[in-house]
């Protein structure tokens, strides 16, 4: 306490002191710690009093200066964490997609400071965010051309990540990308689908190869090829990486370019409604969002942010956001009656330890039964899981893990496919939400037809992370250029939900 007062005194003293009085140095046989020890308390107390006096006078002077007009002190404390009152674009959701869109918006703006972007994230610990709970894989083995192009573009981005997301004087970004490839195994019924997908993937430029069971056995001697008729193996640009690093790289670069970050929850919108009449006499309400109400965490304090454009990148919670605008609560046979078909779905990921398992060359293996596993680190740990059946979807109110599910659904298939996994131990597990698109399990990108200035970028059902750089660029092109420029994702617009034309991935799982 006295040391603090001494330091305060000295800081103010540098301006006031004219001469310093050096203390006397007594040499003593017992070392320097015992010098300057005086036996009388009188002089010490007097010194203390004068030191205190200096400090008190300085504080008094400071308070007087603050009280006079012209100083910036005010008795009203303003919460410094509130978002700004006005922003051009508000991105709801601070996951990898939200920050990717923020980065690309700043990257593509024509003038410095051209767009004022605000990213609102309700949970800065990311405890329930899908991004950080994902397995982190990237693959090009899709059946839709758009998905393959998105994956290729994202892999391209990650290859040159330091060129894109490198900040001056900061450490380079290290995604810890494991170039291990994906391996899909097909049984006899689905082998033809795999062949078709293979030709689409090759046409799009993905480096994939087909393997027969004998070649599989040669390449991966630890694999049991029982029931496998064909396998599809990614040679390049496939593997897994650390999603937290990618998220932080996007965030760091976006903040360095001037994106404003806010920790809060969007609880309401203020919008204006234009009522239009169709030819047959029905009314259509076209809404335009005027401002977003951002509520501070654990508090009733809120800030209405006036904005021009709102981007819905809230992931698993995007459905709730559109409900606030009345989407889905209109009459059943109208456009307003169709809700955003995105809901959270819980998926379990189990970490297992098997010392005799596959080695460094083990790919991200996905069996035709839906069970997947991949290597994690170098110590014989693996990550495994499976997508549950539609009828057995677990409860999404929490992120508790059901270990019984592993015993019943995951382990038998794993042990059948890789005999070494018969002796494994589950060391830990976690659960995360998919932003599951109940309509066709592919992303929804584009403006909502009834809300003039809300852009959707959600519903990726497990592929959001691997497509995030390319989708971020696409949404930024939509907003700033008006149309897609690099990859045409018009097939992923909300229109397909209105016309009930699903863009299904014809995959083997």
């Amino acid at each position: 306490m006295s040391a603090w007062r001494l330091r305060v005194k000295l800081r103010s003293a540098t301006g006031l002191l004219v001469s310093t009085r050096p203390t006397q140095r007594h040499t003593s046989p017992y070392g320097p710690l015992t010098l300057c020890r005086s036996l009388s308390t009188g002089s010490h107390l007097r010194n203390e009093f004068f030191k205190d006096l200096e400090a008190q006078l300085a504080a008094f002077r400071k308070k007087a200066a603050d009280a006079l007009p012209g100083s910036s002190w005010s008795p009203l404390q303003i919460n410094p964490n509130l978002p700004p009152e006005r922003a051009d674009i508000v991105i709801v959701g601070g996951g990898v997609l939200g920050w990717s869109i923020a980065y690309w918006l700043k990257q593509k703006e024509m003038v410095r400071g051209g767009v004022r972007v605000l990213v609102v994230e309700k949970d800065p610990t990311y405890s329930q965010a899908s991004t950080v709970l994902s397995a982190g894989g990237i693959r090009q083995q899709f059946s839709l051309l758009e998905n393959i192009h998105l994956s290729l573009a994202s892999a391209d981005f990650m290859r040159n990540i330091n060129e894109h997301l490198g900040v001056l004087n900061e450490d380079p970004v290290d995604l810890q990308f494991n170039q291990s490839g994906y391996l899909f195994l097909a049984s006899e019924e689905v082998a033809h689908i795999m062949e078709e997908n293979y030709s689409t993937q090759r046409y799009a430029g993905a480096k994939v190869s087909l393997l027969s069971p004998t070649q599989l056995k040669q390449k991966f001697p630890w694999l049991n090829t029982d029931g496998v008729v064909l396998a599809s193996y990614g040679l390049e640009n496939e593997g897994w990486f650390d999603p937290w690093t990618l998220l932080n790289a996007f965030r760091r670069k976006a903040i360095s370019m001037g994106v404003i970050q806010c920790c809060g929850e969007v609880t309401d919108f203020k919008y204006t409604t234009d009522v239009l009449r169709t030819a047959s006499g029905d009314t259509v309400d076209l809404k335009r969002i005027g401002s977003v109400k951002v509520q501070m965490p654990n508090s009733l304090e809120y800030q209405p942010v006036e904005c021009a454009i709102v981007v819905n990148a809230a992931g698993a919670f995007s459905g709730k956001l559109t409900e606030m605008l009345g989407i889905g609560s209109g009459p059943k046979d109208s456009i307003a009656g169709i809700p955003l078909p995105v809901e959270p779905r819980k998926r379990y990921v189990y970490v297992v330890h098997c010392p005799d398992g596959p080695g460094l060359d083990s790919p991200f293996l996905i069996d035709y039964s839906g069970v997947y596993f991949r290597r994690e680190g170098l110590g014989g740990n693996y990550i495994a899981g499976v997508s549950p059946e539609e009828a057995e979807e677990p409860d999404t109110s929490n992120l508790e893990v059901d270990y019984q599910f592993f015993e019943e659904k995951v382990w038998p298939c794993l042990a059948h496919r890789v005999p070494a996994f018969e002796k494994l131990k589950v060391t830990s597990a976690w659960a995360g939400f998919y932003d599951y698109n109940t309509f066709d399990q592919n992303g929804i990108i584009g403006i909502h037809p009834l809300i003039n200035n809300m852009y959707l970028a959600t519903g990726f059902s497990g592929h959001g992370l691997q497509h995030s750089p390319a989708v971020g660029r696409a949404v930024a092109e939509l907003i700033l250029d008006g149309n897609f420029k690099t990859i045409d994702l018009s097939n992923f617009s909300f229109r397909r939900i209105l016309t009930q034309e699903p863009m299904l991935e014809i995959n083997i799982v």
């Binding site: 540098t14 710690l33 494991n178 291990s180």
Partner: protein, 256 residues
């Protein structure tokens, strides 16, 4: 009680020094301007964003130069064929190569000069390529992609060789027998996993890779992954950690 006094003494000395310096500065500014480099530094500290812009331009320029060096030699391919284009690319980057069926190596010297004799061997595939200490990167490898009978590839000490280039080496999976990626600073364990495709590899040199964190374990896993391959991995410190090392030292001292 004496400790705060000693700290007070030190603080007094420091404040005296500060005052002294400040007095000197103000006195010297009235007498003569500070030297040019000090004035320049003070000028730059006032202009942070300009300095940031200049530095980012500089790094962008260096990156552009690198990409230009590694560009796709499309015209050369069209006029001279795949093999001569690859050969020309290698020589422009100051590497060396040997044609299949020939025994002499074509090298470019330190200044980048090379003889044009290689033009005489049209449509001969390259068998051995030595790109050690060159700036080849992922983009540049596309110039070598057509060489399906490449047997030896030396990428020793290349600063731009990273995991993605290793992943691209799958195009040589049928023919590559000898690969040298020692001393490359950007390669990490994830890239070494990409060597799984090179099943025909007979000799692999992964010495002194600073990017690998647990070299002993990684080398063992590599040996398991490529059973027919002879792996050279020198330049790593496989010693035990510090506590055990100190115990050993004490033991030896006591013995003496």
């Amino acid at each position: 009680m004496s400790a705060p006094l000693t700290s007070l003494h030190r603080c007094c000395q420091r404040s005296a020094l500060l005052l002294h310096v400040a007095r000197q500065r103000w006195s010297s500014s009235s007498a003569s301007p500070p030297p040019l480099h000090t004035r320049l530094l003070l000028f730059l500290t006032q202009r942070f964003y300009d300095v940031e812009m200049l530095l980012s331009w500089r790094s962008q320029l260096m990156r552009n130069q690198l990409q230009k060096k590694n560009a796709y030699y499309g015209y050369t391919q069209r006029f001279y064929g795949l093999d001569l284009a690859s050969a020309y690319f290698i020589l422009s980057l100051k590497g060396g190569f040997r044609f299949a069926g020939q025994s002499e190596w074509f090298y470019a010297d330190q200044k980048g000069k090379f003889s044009w004799d290689f033009l005489n061997h049209k449509d001969t595939l390259l068998e051995e390529v030595d790109m050690s200490y060159t700036v080849i990167n992922y983009r540049g490898l596309c110039n070598l992609e057509g060489q399906r009978s490449l047997r030896t590839l030396k990428l020793r000490g290349c600063p731009e060789v990273d995991d993605w280039l290793l992943a691209r080496l799958h195009v040589f999976q049928d023919s590559l027998e000898d690969l040298d990626i020692s001393h490359c600073p950007r390669i990490t364990t994830g890239g070494l996993a990409a060597l799984r495709n090179l099943k025909g590899l007979k000799r692999l040199d992964v010495s002194s890779l600073p990017g690998i964190l647990s070299p002993g374990l990684v080398i063992i896993l590599l040996e398991e992954m490529l059973p027919q391959c002879q792996i050279t991995a020198t330049g790593y410190d496989y010693s035990l950690n510090d506590a055990q090392g100190e115990e050993e030292e004490e033991h030896m001292q006591r013995q003496r």
